[in-house]
Amino acid sequence: MIAYLAKRLSIGLLTLLLASVVVFLALEVLPGDPARIMLGMNASPEALEALRTQMGLDHPPLLRYLAWLTGMLSGDFGNSYTYSLPVIELVLERMAVSLPLAFIALSLSTLIAVPVGIFAAARHGRAADTLAMGAAQLGVAVPNFWFALLLVYVFAVGLQIVPAGGFPGWGDGWGEHWQALRALILPAIALALPQAAILARITRSAMVEVLGEDYIRTARAKGLPWRIVLWRHALRNALIPVLTILGLQFAFLLAGTIIIENVFYLPGLGRLIFQAIGQRDLIVVESVVMLLVATIILINLLVDICYAIADPRLRGAR
């Protein structure tokens, strides 16, 4: 187990390192002169020179990469050119919106998808199964941002029970917390439902497969109630593929969060990154991209480790 963990951990770190090289090459070396991109064609030579010095562009790329890497490890992501603020401050402020949103959406989609998948598998081949999986097939095809627009139209424009967009900030006290949470309800649902459709299909097929196993028949033959067989014996084994997909889906969820924030005008990482692109603030783009990529790699690493804990047979493999 320890050996497996060490191996997984070193592979994860290697992936992270390679990804940082890719980000650095793409945003700092490939463009030739990042300072010119950031300031545009009409920039004065003095301004260009000043920015080059500030970004350390007069040093060789390898040195700049190492400085960037060690800076990030100590929490220094550089300064935003347009905001004149440390990038880390901007990022932390925006993460207070994006992370809760992604987390609520993930919980919501799991809470919907796993019971629906189990329900459909338990009624395999019957009308309820066909209906649930038909709905899931449709759900997979719905782009989350379009679904978000529909939700806004019905619940914010029509019924007016939730705000159509914006974010009041987490604030102090329960009243303000509640208002902030209210602003995240529609975005979370919009993110969660298409995601839940995929997850429900996977849960169902994993459960159907497990329910066909001999040990399930044995458990039933022993006279165990169906409910216990389903929830205790079958679910435990079916959860392994579900867990893997959950990890893989996290990357899409994060990308989805960035798009959904644009629908609801939420001041999260997504808004930050698009503003940064508009203002050609490469330092912010670089940091946020690196942060997102690192999150995806870390989540996949965690899933792999959970996977090994859940299924001891996998520790030897790979």
Partner: protein, 288 residues
């Protein structure tokens, strides 16, 4: 997951009969065929010219003259949805092409060589997997500015490890088989064996994966265009139309309806087609 060589599996006529009996496949073919036909038709005919703006007819509701209404510049929505179909399909198809042309040779090469080459390829795959097409598009746009090409490259990059993995897994399951051993004993090189025996036998896997990536590509293109990282105006694209519709949701909700429905129908059709293909081509890959 194991595969039969094409030569020893069911005869082709049998596959065709099975395909016609598969509801998912049939529905997928009909829907996808319809969307493809609409996209092709848009090259030669659309009800209106979408480059001509009729401001006097802006944001009209549904009518006989404009079945889907008109947008904020007086352009016919039906015509724009038709041209949007063409753009979405083109972007997704080229992105799949990138994935196949780079990914399949890499995957089959890794499977044929094994060892260090295989390890290195898989690590590189892990790295690319950490860059969803949205993040690649963000990077590309930050450097080169927005454009439809960015979307194609970003989605294409993400397709590469997908096809590399599928090709590698398929090839790995074939290498220990007798007919490959026979070919090796006959003195054929690894490259020749890959081209003559491995590739024909992983075609069905690639076809199924291609359909799935097609659907994902349509969704990704719509998302990228919606946030301004993909197709740029005045080109019509479903994602861009939804972006334009967003600020006018209160006065003209129909603007958001039709481009969205077009995406859902197209993706649904492709997913049904993919599910059907999988059932027909390889029953052992079938979802229980």
């Amino acid at each position: 997951m194991s595969l039969d060589p094409v030569s020893s599996s069911v005869p082709e006529r049998h596959v065709l009969l099975k395909a016609l009996g598969n509801r998912s496949f049939l529905a997928g073919v009909i829907i996808t065929g319809f969307i493809a036909a609409v996209a092709l038709l848009s090259f030669v005919w659309t009800p209106y010219d979408i480059t001509r703006l009729e401001v006097s007819e802006r944001m009209q509701g549904l009518s006989l003259a404009h079945p889907f209404g008109t947008d904020h510049l007086g352009r016919d929505i039906l015509s724009m949805v038709m041209i949007g179909a063409r753009n979405s399909i083109a972007v997704a198809l080229v992105a799949i092409g990138i994935g196949i042309v780079i990914g399949v040779p890499l995957g089959t090469w890794a499977a044929a060589r094994g060892g260090l080459a295989d390890d290195v390829l898989m690590r590189v795959n892990d790295v690319i997997f950490a860059f969803p097409s949205l993040i690649s598009a963000v990077i590309i746009t930050a450097i080169f500015g927005p454009g439809a090409i960015n979307a194609i490259i970003a989605i294409g990059i993400f397709n590469v490890p997908v096809f590399a993995r599928v090709a590698r897994a398929g090839a790995l399951s074939l290498w220990p088989r007798e007919f490959i051993l026979a070919a090796r004993a006959a003195g054929k090189s690894r490259v020749l064996i890959t081209i003559e025996h491995i590739l024909p036998n992983i075609m069905s896997l690639l076809l199924v994966q291609g359909t799935i990536q097609f659907a994902l590509g349509i969704l990704a293109e719509a998302g990228l265009s919606y946030v301004g990282l993909g197709t740029q105006p005045p080109m019509a694209s479903w994602g861009r139309m939804l972006f334009d519709a967003q600020t006018r949701l209160v006065v003209a909700p129909h603007l958001a309806l039709f481009p969205g429905l077009a995406i859902v129908i197209t993706v649904l059709g492709l997913n049904l087609l993919g599910d059907g293909l999988r059932d027909v081509l390889d029953p052992r890959l079938r979802r229980a």
